[in-house]
Amino acid sequence: MKARITITLKNGVLDPQGKAIEGALHALGFAEVANVRQGKLIELDIPTADDAAARNQLKDMCEKLLANTVIENYNIEIR
């Protein structure tokens, strides 16, 4: 099945990228845009039909590699 993992900075962690992007958007005339935050998106195929099993594996991958849990949260979607 296909999985989609979104990784976002924890609340309160400085996001220099988001800050710069917000500045650029304002400069381009999108003046009202606010709270721009940048995160990561990881898509992958995992060959199991069992939803729960997949979810566990994916959680494992996030904890072990994909997310830096000191500063990032992750969210797993399966479809």
């Binding site: 220099p16 990228q17 710069a20 992007i21 500045g23 650029a24 400069a27 381009l28 940048q38």
Partner: protein, 221 residues
């Protein structure tokens, strides 16, 4: 000859480039801040130097490519003024649509600073006329996103029209760029972008002077 160096916040090889241009052209280039909307009408050369404009955030060169001064740079390019983009400058030119393709993350995913070997593939450009076709020069690279990519059609056009100016050789491709491409030129022949830093290999102090001919070419052009 009259040159200008465009400065965006986060650019950090502007001084290196200014030093090199002063050395070879005999006069200091104008330093132009990104909010300017016009360039001097009598410029011979516009340089976008290396660095980390806007921290390389979002995509390398993406934010700088949309800065006010870029309209003027586009304009100059249209008028036939020579435009040179080095490293981050190359990325900016691509993001601005002045050169085709894309520069992606190095295949190693590491920033890489080392010397590479470049073969001059086209010596009829304003940057290479003092070199011979097939000549091999050394130059330092220092980047994390120099992995050149272009769709097949664009790539074919670049190759067929001899618009690949420099190619990494001797197995020194530092970033996995397609066809070992290190630098390219536009159709009109007045806009060049390259990843290596010629401004860092022009005098005895740098260990070698391989890149002096590139600046001599600029001046003679």
């Amino acid at each position: 000859m009259k040159s200008a160096v465009i400065v965006f916040p986060g650019i950090n090889r502007d001084r290196d480039m200014a030093m090199a241009l002063a050395r070879f052209t005999g006069r200091a280039p104008q330093m132009v801040w990104q909010t300017e909307t016009e360039l001097a009408p009598d410029l011979d050369l516009v340089v976008l130097p290396g660095g980390f404009s806007y921290g390389d955030y979002l995509r390398c060169g993406a934010i700088a490519a949309r800065a006010p001064v870029m309209a003027a740079v586009r304009d100059a390019a249209r008028r036939g003024v020579k435009v040179l983009g080095v490293c981050n400058g190359f990325q900016i030119l691509i993001e601005a649509g002045l050169l085709p393709g894309a520069l992606m993350r190095n295949a190693s995913l590491h920033f890489v600073c080392r010397r590479v070997h470049l073969r001059v593939e086209n010596n009829e450009t304003f940057l290479t006329r003092k070199l011979g076709r097939g000549d091999i020069v050394q130059a330092p690279v220092a980047h994390g996103d120099g992995n050149y990519f272009a769709e097949p059609a664009t790539l074919r056009a670049l190759e067929d029209e001899g618009r690949v100016v420099f190619r990494y050789v001797d197995g020194t491709n530092p970033n996995g760029s397609i066809n070992d491409i290190a630098g390219i030129i536009n159709r009109d022949g007045n806009v060049i972008g390259l990843m290596p830093h010629p401004e860092n290999m022009i005098e005895g102090l740098h260990g070698r002077t391989d890149c002096a001919p590139l600046f001599e070419s600029l001046v003679s052009a």
